[in-house]
Symmetry: D2
Subunit: 137 residues, 4 copies
């Protein structure tokens, strides 16, 4: 997929995101990434709250690997790019890149699993799989 | 009540609590205060997760007024003092003070209400009222 | 000022904002409010990071009073309305309202003070006062 | 090193740590892990705020890989175990495990780098290396 076809989510860095080192606190890039995944799903017609209420399931992160390349700072305008790289019956994999203009700041590889609210693995609803598949390479 | 009779909750300031101004981010004192209230309740035999699971209720903050007097910084050892100042049938009021040694840093006055998970006001369970009452002045 | 003249800041509720009670965690409305104040200032040409770097000052919350009227939940689209209600030499006061459509969810009254990075009170830079004044009623 | 020789940091799960799915939000385990690393360093006589003020350096996470095995929930009493697995001139590696009793919930492998506040790589101060080395296997 061309880079331009990745889902793009813009965000701003506020005081809440930074720490006394003057940069964005390392855990907060995972918050940014989850916002981006939520918006990508919403644009595909999949809302987390409806998945919970109607299907009794949620997408949970099983594994993530995060490379911190350069720090973001207060007032930065960032973009989170999201690309679904693999879809299985109950799991999906994604690559997320946090950018500031042309600079790649943080790179996140994730594996997500579909779970019941009771915590057991569940199949991805067919509609979700199909819609994500159109976005997958 | 003598000051020494207030519930005392110690905590440490970590990077996650601070912001790029080099001080604790203003919203985070409310996180500290809620930890202290939870521990005070736990010592009285009241756990939030059991209140939710067994009684279907939660204590929600209805109103708070926060005075920021002096800032806390990274690595500070703080104490949150909690005093229940009033108990009603479905509400309670408390004063919480965040200290560093003898310095009063932040002062929080709260009104909490007992709510069902559906969001309606509910009476405080009798056992909770009675145990809190012993701590109230 | 007509309500429509208040600064409007839209935001979405994500998992990070919610808690196990199924609603937005009470401290997080202060994060939402600070984002809205930052964007209001940015639109007036005042960036927090530039205030720190160029003027050596920051706007710190001195006092806030928060009324929690109705809870927000996952996936809600919210608006934070901000109105500067008073401007002094070194302080300003504001009212912020978190809405979901026509529902007022949370109401925040704040007093902010201008501070040097060393923690002492400082006068608001004249340009900032003047630009905020045009927004004040 | 025997498991019992790993640094042990106890913590409690509060509402602030959980999300609407009823479990601890995935980014928050990184907050727990950083608290544990800070306390391990503090016990070795190394405080983050002193490193910044006196040496002008900070330890920043360069890479982390996180396995989410089982979720933690509200009121859980957790332990974060920390083991330094490798020390270089400017970097160190660590393994951190979040446990609830005998259950391994989250496993975090990290690479940290020593940085100047300006963002460039720096050597670990000799005293820090030496004290960490005694804890390394």
């Amino acid at each position: 997929m061309a880079e331009s076809a990745r889902h793009q989510f813009p965000l701003r860095v506020y005081y809440e995101d930074t720490d006394a080192g003057g940069i964005v606190y390392y855990a907060n890039y995972l918050r940014f990434a989850e916002r981006a995944r939520s918006e990508m799903l919403r644009e595909l017609g999949v809302e987390s709250s409806r998945l919970m209420a109607e299907d009794g399931i949620a997408l949970a992160v099983r594994r993530c690997a995060v490379d911190y390349i350069k720090p973001a700072v207060l007032d930065d305008a960032l973009i989170v790019e999201t690309e679904v790289t693999k879809i299985g019956g109950a799991t999906l994999e994604a690559l997320q890149i946090v950018r500031r203009d042309d600079d790649e700041l943080v790179r996140i590889e994730l594996k997500l699993g579909c779970m019941t609210l009771g915590g057991r693995a569940a199949r991805l609803p067919e509609g979700v799989r199909e819609r994500l598949g159109r976005n997958c390479n």
